[in-house]
């Protein structure tokens, strides 16, 4: 167990270092002088000189990298070349919006996905299974941003049931906050719930044919108790695994969802940065995403080894 975790920790750290190098080199891969790119529209010699000094562009690449890492470790993610705002303070305003969106979507997707998956497995060969399977397939195949557009068109613009865009912080007005975030959460959760449903169904089917479930049935447990107590426990592992695997999809999905619903989150900040060629912000966004991904997957593995004792003994998380 300890070797496994130490191993995973070391691997995660190594990946993080590699990712930092990639992000660092990414900006240097820009065609032309990075100082020009970082300066944006203001191309006076003084500005360029200041940028060269600030980023240490006149020094050797390894020294620059040292600077880069040192700044990050001190919480300095650079400054937007468009607004002059430190990227770290931009993140502080944007991230809570995205986190709320993502966490709510995961919770919703888990409830719907696990529920539908268990029903599909328990009602095998009956209409309920067909309905659940069909919905999952559609959930996987429908472009979510399009679903968002249609939802805005028919649920917001036409009927006024929901606001079409905008955001109200939870601390300001909890009711309005939920009102604004509900549609985006449902849209972002659709794909995830389909994935969770399919995995839960397959894991539950596997569990239902496993020896220990047969024993439980043989000793006279009611079917609902068998599923609830034995088969469902496995779905916990499924959800945790998927949370790690689907994190990339979730981040990508959040960016699009925020764009459609006009939520002032991480995704909107990212897209604005791309269209304004705000390189320090792009660089920070990519780095923060990669770090979050690596950290959360490490946590998932940690959790995974706590839930499933086979991982601790077996060594390798397949």
């Amino acid at each position: 167990m300890r070797t496994y975790l130490l191993n995973r920790a070391w691997q995660s750290l190594l990946t993080l270092i590699l990712a930092t190098v990639v992000v660092f080199l990414g900006v240097r891969a820009l065609p032309g002088d990075p100082a020009l790119a970082l300066a944006g529209e203001d191309r006076s010699p003084e500005t360029l000189a200041a940028i060269r000094l600030q980023y240490g562009l006149d020094q050797s690449i390894p020294v620059q990298f040292g600077h880069f890492v040192n700044n990050i470790l001190h919480g300095d993610l650079g400054t937007s070349i468009r607004t002059g705002t430190p990227v770290s303070s931009m993140m502080r305003t944007a991230l809570p919006v995205t986190l709320q969106l993502a966490v709510f979507a995961i919770v919703l997707a888990t409830i719907v996905g696990v529920g539908a998956g268990v029903v599909a497995a328990a009602k095998r060969g009956r209409p309920a299974e067909w309905v659940a399977n069909g919905l999952a397939l559609i959930g996987l195949s429908v472009p979510h941003f399009w679903l968002g557009l249609v939802a805005i068109l028919y649920l917001a613009v036409a009927t006024g049931l929901f606001p079409a865009s905008g955001f109200v912080p939870f601390t300001e007005n909890p009711v309005e906050n939920l009102h604004h975030i509900l549609l985006p959460v449902v849209i972002l959760g659709t794909g995830l719930s389909a994935v969770i449903m399919r995995q839960t169904r397959s894991a539950t089917l596997d569990a239902l044919s496993a020896d220990y479930v047969r024993t439980a049935k043989a000793k006279g447990l009611r079917p609902s108790a068998v599923i609830g107590r034995h088969a469902l426990r496995n779905s916990l592992i499924v959800v945790v695994t998927i949370a790690g695997l689907q994190l990339g999809e979730l981040i990508s999905g959040a960016v699009v969802t925020e764009q459609i619903f006009g939520l002032p989150g991480f995704g909107k900040m990212t897209l604005d940065a791309v269209f304004q060629r705000d390189y320090p912000v792009i660089q920070a966004v990519v780095l923060v995403t990669a770090t979050a991904y690596i950290a959360i997957n490490f946590l998932v593995d940690l959790l995974y080894s706590l839930i499933d004792p086979r991982i601790r003994v077996g060594g390798e998380a397949a």
Binding site: Q11, S12, L14, T15, L16, L18, A19, V22, G26, A29, L30, P31, N133, L137, I138, L140, S141, V142, P143, F145, W146, L147, L149, V150, I152, L153, V157, A158, S202, L205, L247, G248, E249, I251, S252, V255, V256, Q259, I260, T270, L271, V274, F275, R277, Y279, I282, V285, V286, T289, A290, Y293, I294, N297, A318
Partner: protein, 304 residues
């Protein structure tokens, strides 16, 4: 469940492991028979066939040029004479744009998956076969995974500009880890089987074993993964083009059509609904066919 047909060996590819010709033919025939016996597989295959034919002959099939504007007839509703599915904000024919947009979607789908295959399969084989390379390739896989496709696309668009090619590359790179992991675990499994061990003991070279035994037996799982990866790439392209990070207007793309439609959705709902339905039908057909193919290849019989 057609358990009677299941071979006694543990995996789908083991039966034909020693390239036993008649058995291999029998297996293929059985897979095709299972696919034909599954109505969903037949329907989804037919849809894909139509989509591919339409994509290949798109310029001849589309009634108009997708970029031809007609300012006298903007927002013509579906059913207007001469415009079966109506026109958009610039009076362009929606049907023609859907046809050429689907073609672009399929192009990106194939290009992305080809990228992922070309890089992912050799790395997966090497990672599973050569213990010394495993750690390095696994770190590379982790590294790629740390960049979600949209973030990759953002980075690529920032460095190289937004285009169909860059969108395909970004999606393809994001799909590489999936192929590496899949092929790696399949290679590990095959390597431990008797016929491969026998070949190694027999003195066969590594490349020969990989090319003759491992890769051919891994094709079915790779194929299934590819049929799942193509629709994912199509969805990815739609997202990127919608956000302005993929195909650039005025080139027709289902994603850019939706981006434009967003502004006029209340006035011309068909411009917002039709591209989405087109994407969904394409992706659904791939996903259903992929599911059917996996079931047909599964020696334990079908699950759904």
């Amino acid at each position: 469940m057609s358990t009677t047909e299941a071979p006694l060996t543990p995996g789908p590819s083991v039966a034909d492991g020693d390239a036993d010709a008649p058995r291999e033919v029998g297996r293929r025939r059985r897979i095709v028979r299972r696919l034909i016996g599954n109505p969903l597989a037949v329907i989804s295959f037919a849809v894909l066939l139509v989509a591919v034919v339409v994509a290949v002959f798109a310029p001849w099939i589309a009634p108009y040029s997708p970029e031809q504007t007609d300012f006298a007839r903007t927002f013509a509703p579906p059913g207007t004479s001469g415009h079966l599915l109506g026109t958009d904000d610039l009076g362009r024919d929606v049907l023609s744009r859907l046809i050429l947009g689907s073609r672009a979607s399929l192009e990106v789908g194939l290009l992305a998956v080809a990228t992922a295959l070309v890089v992912g399969v050799p790395l997966g084989l090497a990672s599973g076969y050569f213990r010394s390379l495993d750690a390095v390739i696994s770190r590379f896989t982790d590294l790629l995974l740390a960049f979600p496709f949209l973030i990759l696309a953002v980075g690529l668009a920032a460095i190289r500009g937004a285009s169909l090619g860059n969108a395909a590359v970004a999606i393809g790179i994001a799909q590489i880890p999936g192929f590496i992991r899949l092929v790696r675990s399949e290679t590990l499994r095959l390597k431990s089987l008797d016929f491969v061990t026998a070949s190694i003991v027999d003195g066969a070279g590594d490349l020969w074993v990989l090319g003759k035994h491992v890769l051919p037996n891994a094709t079915s799982v790779i194929l299934v993964q590819a049929t799942v990866a193509i629709p994912a790439a199509i969805l990815g392209e739609a997202v990127l083009s919608f956000l302005g990070l993929g195909i650039q207007p005025p080139d027709p793309s289902l994603g850019t059509m939706l981006a434009t439609a967003q502004q006029f959705a209340a006035r011309a709902p068909w411009t917002a609904i039709l591209p989405g339905v087109t994407i969904m039908v394409l992706v659904l057909a791939f996903n259903i066919f992929g599911d059917s193919l996996r079931d047909a290849l599964d020696p334990k019989g079908s699950r759904s």
